[in-house]
Symmetry: C2
Subunit: 329 residues, 2 copies
């Protein structure tokens, strides 16, 4: 059976398709009696509008593109989940794209986004991305974009992120107040703004507590459990080993804790741990963990609202930059 169209209804009811269109859309300009008849008949036949025709004609698209490195990461999956819910409530659907930390993939994604006539984009850029010029195609097609989490100063879009600097600063001082003095940090690639800020915060925190010990490992590849394991191993076997570890991701933390557990000797219990994400899974571990909790709901909501603002009012391109505070628990 073929799809039922506005023209089918028109023919079967002895009307013109424009009349049917008006009956379904406008509420003036149309006889109330025929309107109701059409609505009834359309409902009966299970008519559903063809969005492709709508979009082709010029009504905006209702697809929002979300670009994340990979959706199989609880921070991003949670984020996408919330965005998807908000979008659906607002009458939009969400197309997910995974850059897999590759610029080439990112370029392909943008091509696809343009071909699909996507209404707006929410993106967290890949680790590999230093040149962000491919995102600027969006400008040309007037597709609004909001960056979140992994943002770049070279892109002058609205952005939403954690206040990474002050967060790391607080983590260090909090660990210090719990009695730890040799605080090491497993971080990411400083070419990414986010990690750069966090590292600044880390060093700022160390300065604030007045310690000379510092150990910041910069992992430039994609985070894996193995990486966390080996990086922790490396840190703990160094001449002056730390008594507390800060992980930039629960994935790294997982590897790190595996190492500590394996070493035995109450190393797991006696080492201070702080990590982004991972709560509540890690809370079962014997370790005493300081969780750095991002307000993911707020971040997602703010990101979505900013994008909507840009979609609905495409004229004023005020680029807002929002920062949220993390909670340490």
């Amino acid at each position: 059976m073929k799809r039922i169209t506005i023209k089918d209804i028109a023919r079967e009811m002895g009307l013109h398709h424009s009349t049917v269109s008006r009956a379904l859309r406008s509420r003036s300009e149309i006889n109330q009696a025929t309107r109701e008849k059409v609505l009834k008949y359309a409902a009966l036949k299970g008519y559903q509008v063809n969005r492709n025709a709508l979009q082709l004609r010029g009504s905006g698209s209702n697809i929002i593109g979300v670009i994340v490195p990979n959706i199989h990461h609880s921070f991003f999956s949670n984020f996408v989940s919330i965005i998807t819910r908000l979008a659906f409530e607002a009458g939009y659907i969400v197309a997910v794209f995974q850059s897999e930390e590759s610029v080439e993939q990112e370029k392909e994604i943008l091509k696809s986004i343009i071909q699909q006539n996507i209404a707006g984009v929410i993106a967290s850029i890949s680790m590999e991305t230093t040149d962000t010029s491919h995102f600027q195609q969006l400008d040309h097609y007037k597709i609004p974009m909001v960056g979140f989490d992994r943002i770049s100063s070279s892109l002058k879009t609205s952005t939403v992120e954690l206040d990474n600097l002050s967060t790391l600063r607080n983590v260090v001082t909090t660990l210090h107040s719990r009695g730890y003095t040799k605080i090491a940090y497993l971080s990411g690639n400083p070419s990414i703004h986010l990690y750069q800020e966090r590292q600044k915060g880390y060093f700022g925190g160390l300065k604030a507590i007045g310690t000379s010990y510092q150990k910041c490992l910069q992992l430039t590849d994609k985070f894996t459990i193995e990486q966390g394991y080996h990086a922790t191993e490396k840190l703990m076997e160094a001449p002056e080993k730390p008594d507390a570890l800060i992980f930039d991701s629960h994935i790294l933390a997982c590897g790190g804790l595996q190492y500590l557990k394996k070493q035995g000797d109450r190393l797991l219990e006696n080492t201070g741990i702080a990590t982004f994400g991972g709560h509540p899974w890690l809370s079962i571990s014997a370790a005493n963990i300081l969780f750095i909790q991002q307000p993911e709901d707020q971040i997602a909501k703010a990101t979505f609202d900013l994008l909507m603002e840009n979609i609905v009012h495409p004229t004023q391109v005020k680029t807002t930059a929002l920062k949220f505070q993390a909670t340490l628990i």
Copy 2:
């Protein structure tokens, strides 16, 4: 700046748009010289095809819809991640929909899917869904669908799932071989085929090891950590308490382990634990856990391949039902 179209190129090159179209698509029927000229000019101008026009005209859609209860669950996020990757490689993009375990939401999603002219659907139905008739609209619009994980026998689509019966059976016998005799099971709503099968497997396993002890708690709501906590509490405070627990989800397991850890008295170490998912997060815990690992890659790949088969050859509607074996580690 407006979007550049095939007509723009035609006008600017003094050709007819149909010629440009042929230059971009077909490789016969066109002078190679003009073809190259057009390709070059199109590349220069950054021409991107308008998929809405394509779809309207009748070329199939390139959007695949994936319906899951919620994407913020590692099993589903991993699944969607793999599907998204496979789809993108095949030239498709993925739209994600979350039923949130609600039939009403599911109905809205199907409406949206039909309006969008989606090429095919991959779905895991919601817990609330007993009547699956809303999925049958898809038949009417000739939109192929493949069910996975949460499937229903009333839907005669192709399906991909774990061999749940034999898996649970194996879990029970494995726990028994490790010395546990009083094996309890925290399961889901038996109105869902998946959980029904697992429960059959559980009882089958008990029978095989020849024990009379049986304790199967059926949780009908959405799984939460709190639920896992309280259900475990309830089980462990029962007159004849179990010495091993099987969890149907790592979310329940997390709550359960939290309870066991809190009780102290080496309860965590001495209780046998088996759970779906959650590896490797839970592996840091002191508990000795038997992980029930689904071959998610294979499941996703098989699901995607089946859908593709149905999209490419819409005529033969052979409904395949695939089952995969879990690994216990």
